[in-house]
């Protein structure tokens, strides 16, 4: 089917369901600012969309049945006002809307902008003509901000869909086919209707041309497709995109549909400001929901963005900090799910840090019998259990089995059928809580013991010479005072042990009774074992003197070593054996320098072959060397031994293999290439501190239970799976997330929704066995529009990242990239086909909730692992791939869309961090100073014309030229600018899971290249399209899907 004739619905408007803003926004112009003009100033589209928007507010009013197939649907999706628009669209053939819009709309350009605005806003009056309005102009935002009572958003949006949707569903396709065709033809002159403009209408020039085009397939393909395909499918050649000439047409294509048209209005470029902006979306959400209390009492409620600052009140569903879904409304049937191709997934971060102002976890103790569970599905007592029979029995919300209430747990029900003690029991009223586990939940039915941290330091020549060993030893003396402890506990119960190694291992007996430490050397690396039992793992407080003695001696003991070979697998093996002997779980901190070449199990050789890049075999670079390491992972997991790897390589170390164990045991990998104490010391130490001190649970096993009709099928994370349901994690800390994908088994009911319960059995830092339960309920709907409305882009991209990074182990990168784009195109095409109001094929229509999805996806495609460039080190690519596997939504969001914070005009008086700008070179100014961070790196970019006063106040040097580039931290100066900047940096460092090394980059310096890699809206340095080009490409794909 061709999409041309259709007016796309304004998906955006729908996306904002939660916003209370709609009502308020109606009629006003505010929308524009948010989305600006996609089409760029010149092209203005009529503001037809506005009309569409209206429905949103009063969808319920629409008569579902009558609605012609898609129009109806459009209307609904848009949340359109039936009233305002209704008559014409329904009655008329597709074209009419366009016409009308066209009429209304002034210049095309404006229209475009209007459309965009409309989408956001609901609807702007036809005549929105202020394309020039600055995107962020405050006034426009206001409406939204003021509007918001959360509840509001829902009421209008929530209910309506059902009716209309159902009707749409059936007919959609047939009608489309007919009208669309007609549409285009008839629309000769009129400019594109921006009706739909919202999304991306804004193709530059004469929108009209685009619409007229008969079939995109026909016209479009010839020129553009080739280019694009070539670029995206394979390596994206920077230049191709860049070429000015190309750019014009390329872009035009997607938007306009026809190259021919280009000629006329062609030269106009798309205004980058007009395409959906992530920063804008973030800002809007922050404005709308920031600082508010998010109450989790409603099913299927879409939470604020991860970037938004909000407070959660648990009222029966887990906080989005713990569980965040790709969509909060599941399609009712497998067919629908398949049709839309939107992944159904939840990202679970079971130990997520909660802000101090939110309630900490309650611990429930059900006594000796252990937590109450459903007899059939073993789900734990939770708010979804329905009590009946006067409280004597309850029905499991997951499997519907009716269970007896154990006598000790009996409680009467009130007149609502609620237990009288509902509010006294966390497991009945909260989404997240913990159970104290009984011996049945312990290994071998023995109570667990507190975990142990083992520090294993590579003392081979490289590490000694770099000064690392001394640095670590010195740091440990103080760091060990801060081992994690139970809330309120006086000291940590965590035991510590020390191992040094090169090609043999040295264990240390640091029993408090000893006058001096004892070193035990194990040189039999073929069959590793732990040489001592007593005195290896000790309480730091008790053995402080001996440990300090030891840490003083280690650097000297090996000072004149010339051993440069190392072993690796035996080191981990030793750690596992030690924990096994001590019968506890724990974590290994390994400080390693080089690829393990010594004769021992797990010996590796350099297999870094750049020639493999962009071939079928490229995947082998990322596949770990199996055998030894695979078994090692299993051993680790079964012992609850997590491995954190700190690497200090000076050349290739095969991270794909070395990091394998860490990424299966809930560990992290830190990498400091060419480590130098002066340069990287602080960075490393703060990573180490964070890592040692963070909250963590051990020897965990996680099970995700779901209500009938769907189930968890795939899991991504730093986990190990022995079977298809139990997620085993040697350890899980506050930054580790598991992404769980769901598939349908059966039909879901809209009435009962989709319930999920994540139960995590683990050992606390003090050695208690606990069950952490997170419950979440989602809506189900037979309407795809519902699904698209409650999508969560950040969660989606998290899923896509993880699944792509996994897929690249088994498929050529090219295929992986293509699949990503294909799936995205399918998702969007499905939306357009089923949910959006008809619009010209040349219009790119994005669901509001996904409107920035392309920028993330594009950024993902440009990430090191996927980009396939010989200029990137294989280790770096592997490292990034591995470290992403356990990332939560916040981390992937930031990684794929770094924050670029302008500093030159910050308000030193306020303590607010300046609003980030879009990640594009165009946003930089010569006279500016910017901070860029993505969770891994932190850059301070200094424009060439950066005011000397600013330089002076921050660096205490007279001019830019004097700024030392090797500065690792900002000088502490007593002036507002310096203080402000340092506080910004500190707060950023504080928020991120790992510390970031501050790099100072001067404009036009060579080091700027590294900085530019992170400007994700620009063309990739190693290949990859700019945001704009990518949109065009996606649009093309969508059109292809639709034809």
């Amino acid at each position: 089917m061709s999409q041309q004739g259709y007016v796309a619905t304004p998906p955006y408007s729908q996306a904002q369901p939660g916003m209370g803003g709609y009502p308020a926004g109606f009629g006003s112009t505010p929308a524009q600012p948010l989305y600006r003009h996609y089409g760029g100033p010149p092209q203005s589209f009529p503001a037809p969309p506005t009309g569409m928007m209206k429905p949103v507010s009063s969808p319920s009013g629409m008569p579902p049945p009558q609605v012609p197939s898609h129009y109806g649907s459009n209307g609904q999706q848009n949340g359109a006002h039936p009233q305002s628009y209704p008559a014409p669209p329904y009655g008329q053939p597709p074209q009419s809307p366009y016409h009308s819009m066209a009429h209304q709309g002034p210049p095309p350009a404006q229209q475009l902008t209007n459309q965009m605005g409309a989408m956001n806003l609901g609807y702007g009056p036809g005549p929105m003509q202020s394309p020039q309005v600055p995107p962020t102009s405050p006034p426009t935002q206001q409406p939204f901000q003021t509007a918001p009572p959360p509840a509001m958003g829902h009421s209008p949006l929530g209910p309506p869909p059902t009716g209309p949707h159902s009707s749409q569903m059936a007919p959609p396709q047939s009608p489309l086919a007919g009208p669309p065709m007609a549409g285009p033809q008839s629309m000769g002159g009129p400019p594109p209707m921006g009706g739909m403009g919202r999304p991306f209408p804004g193709p530059p020039p004469p929108g009209a041309g685009g619409f007229q085009q008969p079939g995109p397939g026909a016209a479009g393909p010839p020129g553009h497709p080739q280019q694009l395909q070539g670029q995206f499918g394979g390596q994206m050649a920077g230049p191709g995109m860049a070429g000015p000439g190309m750019a014009g047409p390329g872009m035009a294509g997607p938007f306009q549909g026809g190259a021919a048209q280009m000629a006329g209005p062609p030269q106009k470029k798309l205004d980058p400001d007009s395409i959906p902006s992530t920063t804008q979306v973030i800002e809007d959400d922050q404005a709308k929901r920031g600082g508010q209390v998010y109450t989790t009492n409603l099913r299927g409620q879409v939470p604020p963005l991860v970037t938004t600052d909000y407070t959660v009140q648990d009222q029966g569903n887990a906080s989005p900090r713990f569980m965040r879904c790709t969509t909060y409304s599941f399609p009712c049937t497998a067919d629908l799910a398949k049709q839309c191709q939107v992944p159904l997934a939840t990202i679970i971060k079971p130990f997520a840090t909660v802000p101090k102002n939110e309630t900490p976890m309650y611990v429930v103790n059900h006594g000796e019998t252990g937590p109450i569970r459903c007899n059939r599905c073993k789900a734990y007592m939770c708010p979804y259990m329905q009590f009946m029979d006067g409280g004597r029995r309850y029905q499991c919300g997951f499997c519907n089995c009716v269970n007896e209430v154990p006598p000790f747990y009996f409680q009467h029900l009130d007149h609502m059928g609620k237990r009288v003690d509902f509010y006294e029991r966390p497991e009945l009223s909260l989404g997240s809580y913990e159970f104290a586990a009984t011996l049945d939940y312990c290994k071998n039915n023995k109570p667990a013991s507190p975990p142990a941290y083992i520090f294993m330091i590579d003392v081979s020549y490289a590490n000694i010479k770099s000064g690392l060993v001394r640095l670590v030893c010195d740091e440990l003396k103080t760091l060990l005072d801060n081992l994690p402890r139970e809330d309120g506990a006086e000291s940590s119960m965590v035991k510590v042990g020390f191992v040094t190694y090169n090609k043999i291992l040295h264990f240390y007996n640091v029993k408090s009774a000893l006058a001096q430490p004892q070193m035990m050397v194990v040189s039999d690396t073929a069959e590793m074992f732990v040489p001592l039992l007593d005195g290896f793992l000790v309480n730091f407080q008790e053995s402080r003197a001996v440990i300090n003695n030891l840490l003083d001696q280690i650097p000297d003991m090996f000072a004149d070593t010339n051993e440069s070979e190392t072993v690796f697998a035996p080191v981990i093996q030793a750690g596992v054996e030690a924990l096994k002997a001590a019968e506890c779980s724990g974590k290994l901190f390994i400080f390693h320098s080089s690829i393990p070449t010594a004769e021992a199990p797990g010996k590796l050789k350099n297999r870094d072959d750049k020639k493999l890049i962009n071939t079928e075999k490229e995947k082998t670079l990322f596949q770990p060397q199996k055998a030894v390491y695979e078994q090692l992972s299993k051993d680790c997991v079964s012992q609850g031994c997590s491995v954190d790897l700190f690497l200090f390589p000076s050349q290739y170390v095969d991270i794909a293999t070395m990091g394998d164990v860490a990424t299966h045991t809930g560990g992290s990998i830190f990498k400091y290439s060419n480590f130098q104490v002066e340069r990287d010391g602080q960075h490393f130490l703060s990573d180490l501190r964070k890592d040692v001190e963070k909250a963590i649970g051990f020897d965990a096993i996680m099970r995700v239970r779901t209500s009938t009709g769907f189930r968890a099928t795939d899991f991504f994370g730093a986990i190990h799976m022995n079977n298809t349901t139990d997620v085993e994690m040697a350890a899980v800390d506050c930054d580790k997330a598991v992404t769980v994908e769901f598939k349908h088994d059966d039909t879901l009911s809209e009435e009962t929704g989709a319930l999920m319960q994540c139960a995590l059995l683990y050992t606390t830092i003090s050695g208690q066995r606990r069950l952490r339960i997170h419950n979440l309920s989602l809506n189900c709907s037979a309407q795809l529009s519902e699904l698209y409305k409650s999508c969560e882009t950040d969660a989606l991209i998290n899923f896509f990242t993880k699944s792509a990074y996994r897929a690249m182990l088994n498929q050529p990168l090219k295929t992986v990239r293509e699949n990503l784009v294909n799936q995205a195109a399918h998702m969007l095409a499905c939306y357009r086909k089923n949910c959006a109001s008809p619009s010209a094929a040349s219009q790119l229509i994005l669901p509001d909730a996904m409107k920035v999805f392309p920028v993330y996806l594009n950024s993902l495609l440009k990430t090191g692992p996927l980009v396939g460039s010989a200029e990137l080190s294989t280790d770096d690519r592997a490292h990034q791939r591995l470290s992403t596997t356990a990332m939560g939504v916040e981390d992937t969001q930031l990684l794929l869309y770094p924050r670029l914070i302008p500093l030159h005009n910050m308000d030193v008086a306020s303590d607010v961090v300046p609003t980030p700008v879009r990640c594009s070179e165009e946003r930089l100014t010569d006279a500016g100073m910017f901070l860029l961070e993505n969770g891994c790196s932190l850059f301070l970019w200094l424009g060439q014309a950066c005011p000397p006063e600013l330089i002076q106040s921050i660096f205490n040097v007279p001019s830019l030229a004097h700024v030392p580039v090797d500065l690792r931290s900002l000088p502490e100066l007593d002036n507002p600018q310096s203080k402000k900047l340092r506080s910004i940096v500190d707060s950023l460092l504080d928020q991120r899971p790992s510390s970031m090394k501050l790099l100072i980059v001067k404009q036009k310096d060579r080091s700027e290249i590294m900085f530019r890699q992170h400007l994700v809206e620009d063309k990739g340095l190693h290949g990859g399209a700019s945001y704009m080009d990518f949109l065009c490409y996606v649009h093309r794909e969508i059109r292809q899907v639709l034809t």
């Binding site: 043999i504 004892q518 035990m520 040189s523 039999d524 074992f529 040489p531």
Partner: protein
């Protein structure tokens, strides 16, 4: 000419050699008819304080296949400065340094009194002594404490330049690096794996340093005379003392019903490997202290399940000892590695249960190491034995010697069949090696890694001269023993003993041959042969063989009428021999009943290395009686006064006449028959079995003692009586190595069983009434008594059917 007994004693005194026959039958045929082969007991390092070592090297026969040492038996042509080798008849020039030689100016080695002479080799560096302690930590704290103290004490007994090393083991094995400042280091190995020397060398990093040093250049020259694991006592005395002090019991938990996991086999393997790659062919002792059986890894002898007991003789007979073969093989391999490099393995096994000596015996047996068995490290048996290892002679040198080799050269008429003792073959074939092997044969050289003044080898010869090639009158057969060893001072020394015996034609001179019979030496030589066979053959077969030999000897040398047992008479030179055989048959060396396999191995180990006197005591213990006024006594001292027993002659002495008030306790002591009739109520008996010193108080005496008479002033003589055997026992205890078990018991005491099992059961529950005497104590046994044994022997000897 002196009598044979004098001749024998003199020879033993001077050369440490005793032959079974001191006149040799001149042909192979006759020799085989002698029943007891021509053989010698040789004590290579027989203590000769008056023998000054000679500070030059021996002169050797120039014939490559001979290389015999110039000795007093050689014919010397002083004028031509030539000497003729008395073994191969090669004529040799004296070396230039002997230019001044003449018949009045003879070098010591030509003087007849220097038939045994010791040379000091001046070449080569002084080798350090190496002592490597291998210590079990799987034992009770009390035991470990005692052991630690003993070890610390031993450090003070070592010469300051001696190198020491420490390996401890339990579930794991730790090789301790010595002399570390600030931190104590050890290399740890798992006990379940056997490592060869090369692997060990790599794992201990023993190759690297030298390579690195060589690379650095100037420091290279300092030879690796010590390494991180073996360092001079003077340097790491304090360090090692502390290290030993800090030794802890093996920390790995031992669950109920389990034995601790003890990696003894691997630990020994590592000890052997460590010395192998650091000090090959240098004298070194591996001293292993074990508190229980090896329970894991190579060389394990029992599983860790307590419910499965360690193998017994019964299991072994039933082929039900599943670890034994494998274990034995492991230790045999170790023994061979150690002996190849001249290293000694000592085993100090102190535990109430067996520790696997049966499997490990070869380690000590093949390397000349000590084997000591005690109940606990807290016993004085262990402590004093261990201390005694380090006793020094008058010159302040240890009485032990290291890395010895014994080479034997013989005249053409006889060849060497083999040797039995703490040695291994060096596989040196040569003209004097016989094809008929007895013991460790097929060689003329043996390695004896560890030697002391008592170490005695039995060497068996074969007369090869053909009957039809008579030896000229006055011809003598000569044997030269050349013992090279490392003296405890580090010097290399060579001791040469050259002896010769006359030939005699058995057809005509059978009396002189019979008169030259040394029945004591012969008994031991035959016993060693029997014990050697018992290690590999079934017990009854060995006994049958022994019996047959005895009967044949009686037939050959007895004086009797055919088929008339009563007519049988044996000459004095043979008269004790049957009695020795009787006791040997009953001894723990051939009887395993009532002994654990470990005990058997231990007893056999001692028997195979001790000298003649000690060996005789082992076969036939000595019994002394102490009493106030016993009846006239039969005083045939067991060892010396020969004729008494067979003819049951009784010489009586009236002790009352000897008795004076002043020397009560001395005169009270008298040797008595090792017979149940010697056990009387009013006597105190002192028995020395070599392994045990037992004091037995007769029924009456023990009642007196219980009543406390010895405390009363008026019964001072009783106190003296009680004290007398104790003093005598102390004297023995002080001189013997290893320390015997000291037992003080009384009539009816459980420990009295040791006495009852040794005495000749002349009175048993079967015949006590027949004898009708109230004296003596009946022994509850079905064993035959000496009298019955003799009766049978005579009957068989005179039987024409036999």
């Amino acid at each position: 000419m002196a009598t044979f007994p004098e001749f024998i004693a003199q020879n033993e005194e001077r050369d440490g050699v005793r032959f079974s026959w001191n006149v040799w039958p001149s042909s192979r045929l006759e020799a085989t008819r002698m029943v007891v082969p021509v053989a010698s007991l040789f004590t290579p390092l027989k203590e000769r304080p008056e023998l000054p070592p000679i500070q030059y090297e021996p002169v050797l026969c120039s014939r490559v296949t001979c290389r015999a040492v110039l000795n007093p038996l050689c014919q010397v042509d002083y004028r031509a400065k030539l000497w003729a080798c008395n073994f191969c008849y090669q004529r040799n020039q004296f070396p230039p340094t002997y230019a001044g030689i003449s018949d009045v100016n003879q070098p010591a080695e030509l003087l007849p009194q220097f038939s045994t002479i010791e040379y000091v080799v001046q070449r080569g560096p002084l080798m350090p002594l190496v002592f490597l302690y291998v210590v079990d930590t799987c034992m009770e704290d009390e035991d470990l404490q005692a052991l630690k103290e003993s070890l610390q004490m031993s450090l003070s007994l070592l010469p300051p330049t001696a190198l020491v090393g420490l390996i401890t083991f339990g579930r794991m094995i730790q090789v301790h690096e010595l002399g570390c400042e600030g931190i104590s280091k050890s290399y740890v190995f798992r006990g379940t794996k056997d490592l060869n020397a090369k692997q060990l060398q790599e794992m201990l990093g023993l190759t690297k340093p030298t390579a690195a040093q060589a690379g650095r250049g100037p420091q290279a020259p300092q030879a690796p005379l010590s390494n991180r694991f073996l360092q001079p006592v003077q340097k790491i005395d304090m360090n090692l003392t502390d290290l030993l002090g800090e030794l802890q019991r093996d920390p790995w938990p031992v669950t109920q019903g389990k034995r601790p996991l003890r990696s003894l086999g691997s630990a020994m393997s590592i000890a052997v490997g460590l010395l192998e790659c650091t000090f090959p062919n240098t004298g070194a002792r591996i001293m292993t202290f074990i508190g229980g059986p090896a329970t894991q890894g190579p060389g394990m002898v029992v599983g860790d399940e307590l419910k499965a007991p360690i193998r017994s003789w019964h299991d072994i007979e039933k082929d039900n000892a599943k670890f034994m073969k494998k274990g034995t093989k492991h230790y045999e391999a170790l023994a061979s590695r150690a002996s190849t490099n001249g290293h000694i393995i000592d085993i100090y096994a102190c535990a109430l249960d067996q520790t696997g000596l049966l499997e490990m015996k070869c380690c000590s047996n093949h390397t000349g190491g000590y084997m000591v068995m005690a109940d606990s490290f807290t016993t004085s048996l262990f402590k004093q034995t261990f201390q005694r290892v380090f006793t020094k002679d008058v010159s302040g040198a240890f009485k032990m010697a290291f890395a010895g080799t014994l080479e034997i050269k013989t005249s053409r008429e006889i060849k060497i069949s083999g040797a039995i003792g703490p040695c291994v073959s060096l596989n040196a074939k040569g003209p004097c090696v016989s094809e008929n092997e007895i013991g460790t044969g097929g060689t003329s050289q043996w390695k004896i890694c560890g030697l002391d003044h008592n170490t005695t080898l039995a060497v068996y010869f074969e007369v090869v001269n053909q009957h039809n090639a008579p030896i000229p009158q006055g011809g003598r057969g000569a044997v030269q023993y050349v013992t090279q060893y490392q003296h405890s001072s580090g010097q290399k020394r060579i001791r040469v003993t050259t002896t010769a015996r006359n030939w005699a034609d058995a057809g005509t001179q059978i009396q002189s041959i019979a008169a030259s019979f040394d029945q004591e030496a012969s008994a031991i030589l035959m016993a060693r042969l029997a014990v050697y066979r018992a290690e590999t053959e079934e017990g009854p077969d060995v006994l049958r063989w022994l019996d047959r030999q005895l009967i044949r000897l009686c037939q050959k040398f007895g004086d009797y009428h055919k088929d008339d047992p009563n007519s049988f008479r044996f000459s004095e030179t043979f008269s004790l021999y049957p009695q020795f055989m009787f006791h040997l048959r009953r001894s723990p060396f051939l009887q395993v009943f009532n002994n654990s396999p470990d005990e058997s191995s231990y007893y056999r180990h001692q028997f195979m290395r001790q000298d003649l006197t000690q060996s005789l005591i082992m076969i036939q213990p000595i019994l002394y009686a102490y009493s106030f006024n016993g009846p006239p006594e039969c005083v045939s001292t067991v060892v010396c006064s020969g004729p008494a027993l067979l003819s049951v002659q009784i010489s009586t002495v009236d002790f009352n006449t000897l008795q004076t008030d002043s020397v009560v306790h001395i005169s009270l002591k008298r040797p008595v028959l090792l017979d149940s009739s010697s056990i009387l109520p009013d006597r105190i008996l002192l028995m020395d079995t070599f392994f045990q010193i037992l004091i037995y108080h007769g029924e009456t005496v023990s009642q007196w003692r219980k009543a406390g008479y010895q405390e009363l002033p008026e019964y001072e003589n009783f106190r003296h009586l009680l004290q007398a055997p104790v003093d005598d026992a102390q004297e023995i205890l002080h001189s013997r190595f290893p320390m015997p078990r000291y037992i003080d018991t009384e009539h009816g005491g459980s420990q009295a069983r040791f006495l009852l099992s040794k005495v000749n059961p002349s009175q048993t529950h079967n015949n006590m009434y027949a004898w009708g005497q109230e004296s003596g104590a009946p022994i509850l046994t079905d064993d035959v008594s000496l009298q019955v044994f003799m009766d049978h022997l005579k009957k068989l000897a005179v039987s024409s059917a036999a």
